[in-house]
Symmetry: C2
Subunit: 201 residues, 2 copies
DNA sequence: AATACTTTTGACCACATGGTTAAAACATAT
DNA sequence: ATATGTTTTAACCATGTGGTCAAAAGTATT
């Protein structure tokens, strides 16, 4: 692959990412992706044989950015409470930079569940490490005993929800865009507080 | 509209609901909906002029089942902690009966945000009532002062997440289907506990 | 039984979509 | 300059899609 080739390929991936995330797999049009990338539709098929393959490439990129960061954080050497604080901070920041990724994932998860599992497996997230840390710290009286599968789901749920359900939340609580931005910002401290209260002995 | 007509219309709505929820708007095929309903494709257009109109009808039904129950609960005359317990119980039960609705809503929200807002507005959810109740009870020392827009989002997020992200959660924590069912069941007490700890003075 | 109305169907249409192809444009090496 | 390989394009193609139509089947009314 020449330099020009790599540049084009990159343009395509960026364009495809935008369109797939905005429209979903079925809603995305190869023509629109080509337009976004400033190229011919035939060239899409030259670089990525089919829509499915192109989607795979996009999804793979998104997914493989997602999990390693998470894994790294889970395996860091920090006390649980600090780890949670760090996780929430980094996770929310990542979400603010890519607010549509979660909805994209959920959509893919629902319409094409298989394509996802391999990335999860490859990610090698190991919740047993966290459970062990929880149990250790609980035994030492630092936190109360909780189940990792609840704690982790709760934290992630609270982080993600305001992004995937933004129109609802924003509307029900009658916020304009600036106010919603501020709301998102305020959630970091709020979630942390919420979680810490629930695991404090 | 004759009786036969109403029956057919109902069959169509049920079939359309299934297909739209499973495949999303773009992924759904009028032919497949017709097949599911056991009728001719032309008959779909006889009852619902277009795909968009049919979707509107389905979505309207789903949405108008969702909000009134919520509204009623929010306006019930109960102490906040009881109200929360009731809400979580009823909400999780509704989710177990319709596990794919949230992903459907999120998907619609992302690809067709406008179509949703009118239902939210029509629902007339008023979070100020809850905020008032929180403030009252906080003043009386029953709970600590929290913001409704955080508390409510947190509760709903924790309820919904295991349904929209089921494949991920189930896989990461290595559960089979029965175990996941049990996990979902265990969340009722877990979420309530989590929330109560966070609002207790 | 005849009429008028509604429901249902099969055949059809225009068009958008993902995908192909053969040739042109470009780049690289000899 | 020429030959070789790569990148890009315009023009097509086959198929699937939402949607239409005229006629048939069914139902109720007189």
């Amino acid at each position: 692959m020449t330099l020009a080739g790599e540049i084009t390929e990159n343009h395509i991936l960026i364009a495809a990412r935008e369109v797939f995330i905005a429209k979903g797999y079925e809603g995305a049009r190869m023509q629109e992706i080509a337009d976004h990338a400033g190229i011919n539709k035939a060239l899409l098929h030259y670089y990525f044989r089919s829509k499915e393959k192109l989607f795979e490439a996009v999804f793979s990129e998104v997914a493989s950015n997602l999990f390693p960061a998470m894994k790294q954080m889970l395996e860091a050497e920090l006390e649980l409470k600090e780890k949670i604080a760090l996780f929430i901070r980094i996770y929310l920041k990542a979400l603010e930079e890519n607010p549509f990724i979660p909805a994209f994932i959920i959509n893919t998860l629902n319409t094409n569940p298989d394509s996802f599992l391999k990335y999860i497996k490859k990610a090698g997230l190991n919740p047993k490490l966290i459970q062990k840390q929880i149990d250790d710290e609980a035994a030492r009286g630092i936190i109360r005993a909780v189940k990792a599968e609840h704690l982790m789901v709760n934290i992630i749920a609270m982080c993600i929800f305001p992004f995937v359900a933004r129109p609802i939340v924003q509307n029900v609580f009658d916020m304009n865009n600036d106010e919603y931005q501020a709301y998102l910002g305020s959630r970091q401290a709020e979630i942390l507080d919420f979680v810490l209260k629930s695991i404090t002995v």
